[in-house]
């Protein structure tokens, strides 16, 4: 006899597919934010599951900060092509050149500058919904997210005044200029993501796996040696066997020393880990409410 029971991943999967189809059903001009990172790789597979055998009914959008790991961009372009998906890339460099984004004196990080670039792309294409791969377990401001997260015409998140979200009935109604951010992976944990990658045999960028790389010790973590912020004479530089756990910009992504060479290794490593995934992101550690502040300004 069949048991009519879904396991944990099947459960998360059907929830996410339902949400994606709600987006396709309720919005005129949706887009999917695809960075090439592990969460958005899962999103793409879920989009295939939601919409095949049709073409994906939404383009992929990526904001290129100019500080991406080169491995990530190569993977992003290749994956979009494999899927026959339309990929739109908007670059922070271009926004700086045109004056649309203004770096403060001495501001090297592209963390803040990517926000106006994203908002400009939403405006340019008149996207009314953007699907993103953020998860509630990443960070405590994100733990407050809805599946359908309303943003006003300035792209702002108002966490004190979110729409109630009851059962699986999502309210997607918008007035002109409003925008919805949609997070199908809200209920997924880091382990769930890797178990799904294993189950679906998804390719991920090589930097998630153990490799040898020159690293510089900075702010209590190992960062990849890079040309944007090269090592200063007083800094320690080492050749280490490392991997990334979460991918941000090359100047702020902490690397963990790890021999994990396969997805199985990564799953075992996370089970034994003593710090959270975002513990390796300098951009989150900037202050007590760094993520909340960025989200209020229009970040994911």
């Amino acid at each position: 006899m069949t048991s009519y029971h879904l396991d944990h991943l099947q459960h998360l999967e059907t929830e996410a597919i339902h949400i994606m189809r709600e987006v396709a059903g309720e919005f005129e001009r949706p887009a999917l934010l695809f960075s090439g990172g592990k969460d958005s790789i899962c999103l793409l597979r879920l989009a295939e599951k939601a919409f095949r055998p049709s073409e994906l009914p939404l383009p992929l959008l990526n904001v290129d900060t100019g500080h991406h790991f080169p491995e990530l961009n190569e993977f992003r372009d290749r994956r979009a092509q494999q899927l026959g998906a339309k990929l739109i890339v908007r670059r922070v460099e271009d926004a700086i050149a045109s004056g649309a984004a203004l770096p403060a004196p001495g501001e090297v990080s592209r963390n803040r500058l990517q926000i106006p670039v994203l908002l400009a792309a939403i405006e340019e294409y008149r996207f009314d919904a953007c699907i993103g791969g953020a998860r509630r377990d990443e960070e405590r401001a994100r733990a407050k997210e809805r599946f359908f997260s309303f943003r006003d015409s300035f792209g702002q998140w108002d966490p004190k005044n979110q729409r109630p979200e009851i059962w699986n009935l999502y309210n997607g109604r918008l007035n002109p200029g409003d925008n919805m951010r949609v997070f199908p992976l809200n209920n997924w944990t880091e382990t769930d993501v890797w178990e799904y990658i294993r189950q679906e045999e998804l390719e991920v960028p090589s930097i998630y796996f153990s490799h040898r790389r020159p690293c510089v010790r900075r702010g209590g973590q190992w960062l990849p040696v890079n040309a944007i912020l090269p090592p200063r004479p007083a800094e320690t530089v080492r050749d280490l066997v490392v991997r990334v756990r979460t991918i941000g910009d090359i100047i702020s992504t902490g690397l963990v020393e790890s021999p994990a060479a396969t997805v199985d290794d990564i799953i075992a490593e996370i089970a034994a880990a003593r710090v959270t995934e975002r513990g390796s992101r300098a951009d989150d550690r900037a202050s007590e409410a760094a993520m909340e502040d960025r989200k209020k300004a229009g970040y994911f």
Partner: protein
């Protein structure tokens, strides 16, 4: 950092089953502290989270860590020491996975409590042992009952502040038991705890030898989780019509599938189904999924159904099995939880979203309002104010195909949306329909 030894360790035991629960009760009863305590004592916190907790203790708590800061993730929450919106946390013990919704107690944010509770299999209602049962304790218990959450735990908290008095525990338990018969709750458990000090949360308390157990976590790990889903009548609300319109591939050129998440029952190829609102009967030709055709699919799987005949169906249509028909009608009776500061009144118009269809609705009658003091219905109120629970009648512009909420959560629930502002103003639970659907024609023949 990570040794070879760890990587070579046998795969961790995968816990079976997920329990989704939420904490509720009045403001400051200790809900967030309790969640923090659960995570802390079950060793679910990692080093950077503990460090962050200690950092914020130095800034705001004069050195003592504040466990509520783990879920109070917004700056305004930490500054005011209250929870504003639901926070979701994920943790696992060797026996089970848990999804926690820490919901706010403040009456102003009841809508967020409803949000967190609507997915729960179990609700923990906290009561401050000094205050006993107060209005918010009753309101949240009534909401849990209305949402038909199968299990309730009444955690009588801050027992340290009443000297672990067994008499006080029984007094509060008595206050609860006095009104529980007026609600629809099957399984209620009472546990005396101190969230702040950890008694009976993860470890049994030495200060309450009169409590035979279990601890809260012990109960959460052991409670029976039944299926949330109705497997009796097949229902597929159509979300999206899948039409590749492929220019060259002949098979894909003609492909037309109805994509959706099964909201009830089981479906197999060859099965006869009724397509609504067209009212036509046809046969399931194929259950298409990305991973190949399947011989069977069930609630709540997401599938794409290919039918034997080309019919008029689209988003908002419902495909159902012939064995259990849905109810139908334009005159609906429902229980509602009102969530907006503009009151619900007779004659007001809203959008009603039910499964995948959104229709216009007008309120035709306010049948009753639940008095939270007595938990008795008061007939014919003039309005339902924010946070009121009641029963109403609505008329909708197109017939709805639905079940009662008691029979099927997915096809028996709706939300009301206020036109213009687009706010979600009510959660609705449908009462049984007076008529069932009937197919217009026996067989569909082209």
């Amino acid at each position: 950092m990570f040794t070879e030894e760890i990587l070579a360790a046998p795969p961790v035991h995968v816990p079976v089953g997920i329990l989704r629960f939420n904490t509720c009760g009045s403001v400051d009863d200790g809900k967030s502290t309790l969640i923090g305590r659960l995570l802390y004592d079950s060793k679910s916190l990692l080093e950077d989270q503990l460090e962050a907790l200690e950092r914020s203790a130095d800034l705001t708590g004069g050195g003592a860590i504040n466990l509520a800061n783990l879920t109070d993730g917004l700056r305004a929450e930490r500054e005011q020491g209250i929870t504003i919106d639901v926070a979701y946390r994920y943790f696992a013990t060797p026996r089970r996975k848990f999804i926690i919704a820490d919901t706010p107690g403040h009456v102003q944010y009841t809508r967020n409590m409803v949000t967190g509770a609507s997915h729960a299999n179990l609700s923990i209602v906290l009561v401050d042992a000094r205050l006993g049962v107060i209005e918010q304790s009753r309101r949240h218990t009534a909401i849990a009952s209305l949402l038909r959450i199968p299990h309730l735990v009444v955690a009588i908290n801050k027992m340290d502040l009443v000297g672990w008095s067994e008499a006080r525990f029984h007094e509060i338990r008595g206050q609860f038991e006095a009104f529980l018969p007026r609600l629809d709750l099957q399984d209620v458990k009472f546990i005396p705890i101190s969230a702040l000090h950890g008694d009976n949360v993860v470890t049994p308390s030495v200060r309450a030898p009169w409590h035979p157990g279990p601890t809260l976590l012990g109960h959460l790990e052991g409670v029976h989780i039944g299926s949330d889903w109705n497997l009796n009548g097949f229902r597929l609300p159509v979300q999206w019509v899948n039409r590749p319109n492929h220019p060259t591939d002949a098979r894909l050129h003609d492909f037309r599938g109805y994509s959706g998440q099964i909201a009830g029952g089981i479906v197999r190829p060859g099965q006869r189904v009724l397509v609504l609102p067209a009212g036509l009967v046809t046969t399931v030709k194929e259950i298409w999924t990305y991973d190949g055709s399947v011989p069977e699919a069930f609630c709540p799987q997401s599938i794409t159904l290919v039918l034997a005949d080309d019919l008029d169906a689209g988003r908002g249509s419902m495909i159902i099995g012939l064995d259990h028909h849905t109810g139908t009608g334009t005159d609906l009776q429902a229980k509602v939880c009102w969530m907006h500061s503009r009151p619900l009144e007779r004659g007001k118009k809203y959008f009603l979203k039910h499964t995948t269809s959104t229709v216009q609705a007008v309120v035709t009658e306010l049948t009753h309002r639940l008095n939270i003091e007595t938990l008795e219905p008061e007939p014919a109120p003039a309005a339902l104010a924010m946070n009121d629970l009641g029963e109403i009648r609505l008329r909708v512009a197109q017939p709805l195909y639905y079940d009662s909420y008691a029979v099927n959560r997915l096809t028996g629930s709706f939300i009301l949306i206020e036109p213009g502002a687009n706010a979600t103003v009510a959660a609705g639970m449908l009462l049984p329909a007076r008529a069932a659907v009937k197919p217009e024609m026996g067989d569909f023949i082209i």
